[in-house]
Subunit: 425 residues, 2 copies
Amino acid sequence: MSLIVQKFGGSSVADAASIRRVAQRIAATRRAGHDVVVVVSAMGDTTDELLDLANQVVEGHPAPRELDMLLTSGERISMALLAMAIKGLGLEARSYTGSQAGMITDERHGKARILEVAPRRIQEAIADGAIAIVAGFQGFNRETGDITTLGRGGSDTTAVALAAAMDAEVCEIYTDVDGIFTADPRVVPKAHKVDRITTEEMVELAAAGAKVLYIRAVEFARRHGVRIHVRSSFSDLEGTIVTNRTVPAEGETVEEPVVAGVATDLSESKITIVGVPDVPGKAAQIFTIVADTLANIDMIVQNVSTTRSGETDISFTLAKSDVPAVLAALEAARAEVGFAELLHDDDIAKVSVVGAGMRSSAGVSAKLFTALYEAGVNMEMISTSEIRISVVTRASAAATAARAIHAAFGLDGEADAVVYAGTGR
Amino acid sequence: MSLIVQKFGGSSVADAASIRRVAQRIAATRRAGHDVVVVVSAMGDTTDELLDLANQVVEGHPAPRELDMLLTSGERISMALLAMAIKGLGLEARSYTGSQAGMITDERHGKARILEVAPRRIQEAIADGAIAIVAGFQGFNRETGDITTLGRGGSDTTAVALAAAMDAEVCEIYTDVDGIFTADPRVVPKAHKVDRITTEEMVELAAAGAKVLYIRAVEFARRHGVRIHVRSSFSDLEGTIVTNRTVPAEGETVEEPVVAGVATDLSESKITIVGVPDVPGKAAQIFTIVADTLANIDMIVQNVSTTRSGETDISFTLAKSDVPAVLAALEAARAEVGFAELLHDDDIAKVSVVGAGMRSSAGVSAKLFTALYEAGVNMEMISTSEIRISVVTRASAAATAARAIHAAFGLDGEADAVVYAGTGR
């Protein structure tokens, strides 16, 4: 029998009725003759409610070890309820915590990395003919014996890691949209679902701000060759297959589109350090200071300054939530670094175009820049990877930019797409 | 440094403000120079809310293994929040699940028995100078690797078991009353707090329906010589010390009262099996049928029948919630057992008087029966142990009976007591 891993996010198990509906779907998969391992997130807003409680009992940041202990109660509730509901349908089901499922991580509370997956108990459950329900988002550290959480997108990562460890046929990620779209339909009404996408493209799309799949999970899938199927928990439609396969199967169209999708990201801010002495080692010094705040920076551009001789400006983008800590750290090091001024700008958007076909296709940048110019959109920063080009624009210009790019690369579908929202952890 | 185990029930940690208050109390104990291990229940109504959810996702009884997985999320939340709150006061605190704390049980989900306590991690935390916060009510089974719960009163049992395993100076059970009272003040306004009581008396009082301490915990304390201090989480007053010690210390009053307290229990029903053939082995047959339903029966009386020759009536009391299952099991065996009729009566009360002094004091039964007769209370069943006499009366007569007994044995205090409510699990 083939093994299928199914992951359901918080919105799919938000209340008792949803849990019963998900149980029906899992039971149908089992009755169709598959072995099934289910990964589940906490119900709906549980995580936010628990965080609220933590903020009520303590000023400032709660202890990370205790925060992980607190938050992992969320999946414990949803997985036990889901197992009960499946058993109520006459099938055997057993729930397992991250530690029972063998999700061994490092000790970094709140953002642990998976070191090893040892799913002995899950394999035993499957061998017994049971459906195994595994808590997403959580693991444990062998040295300390403590409970850890994997951070944002952790449940996707749990699902992909289990699929890899157990050599599953497919890892189905259930969400509230029909699959991966060529753009966010709220921004680009002509966006349409894609049937297939490569993990490489998906990594870039996730990094560029697409919220349907988390980048860590896709990276994990790419490294371990896990086939992901992103699909709706509200319908039986085929969604989007995300795989490493680039050699087309017999009968498949060989011609791949140059561009797979357009992503828009409004979650970042820009910081510009003005008047940095143009001497070797300054960039290293600055980004060490930034890294010490644990902020994740994204795009970096060093502008050659024309007005001040021997000085340069450095701009970078980062998550809006990281701005206060980074500004404080840089301000504290102003004398040491010797810069003139520190600016920040929350009012930016990052618009990206991603496609494996860009590698072999000339003129992609030219086409992109022309489309934006004709749409009257100003580019403030540009950053390129092998299969991605990102530009920073005013936040207010983001939708115009995305629509112009979507049309320019021939992605516009026949009809307007349905609007979707991002998923939780 | 002396080690103190402190147990806080659900009503003591019902919300963020209560958790902060409890944290202050724990911190004060630590700062007074004691090592502290804390056992905590789930917040307020968490358990009931989780049970509600379980009933919404599945018809009938939820799977016991999954129910334990679900319910144990409750302590996970309260213990993590409490640890955060204590750390917020500048002291080191670490929370531990039942399995991390080494509470090893048998595999009976929902009513597991503790087989062994292996608190290695708790000892390490204490050695590090930290306050250890342990989830009450939960354990794990070594063979299956599964999470278990200890059933009603489980958190008291966790606290006493840890106190025994770690040789604590005292196990403080915090509750919403000032200690153990000579009777339930809601029933007997002249009830007063006792300063000391023996574990033996406390076992009988708990068995007789007193709700402040659970019988399993007291039995555990009696067997292992744990000193319990029952006290209020709302004041610093001394509560009631529960110990095995019967030899009075120098300076203590040698004269012990004959009776320690009066307990009233309205939670039981009476079942009467009419017309049982009076042949050897019938009682064994009947109570095997009853035991197979897992019901706990309390008082048993076999009435000599005068109206039918060769037949007898058997009456017993049991928890109201167990009545349907027991009636069904007995009805199914009617032909096999050969009885005439099955009656049940929910409208009863059990009133008990408990005291170690009863052993050496003649005429206790006579005084009790006289008091009830003078108060106009009819006795329907009588059952005695070495240090307890229980009588079954109409439910409506329970308060009158308790007050009459309380007065007859000289327990009435100077002033009326404050009213208290029972505690949770």
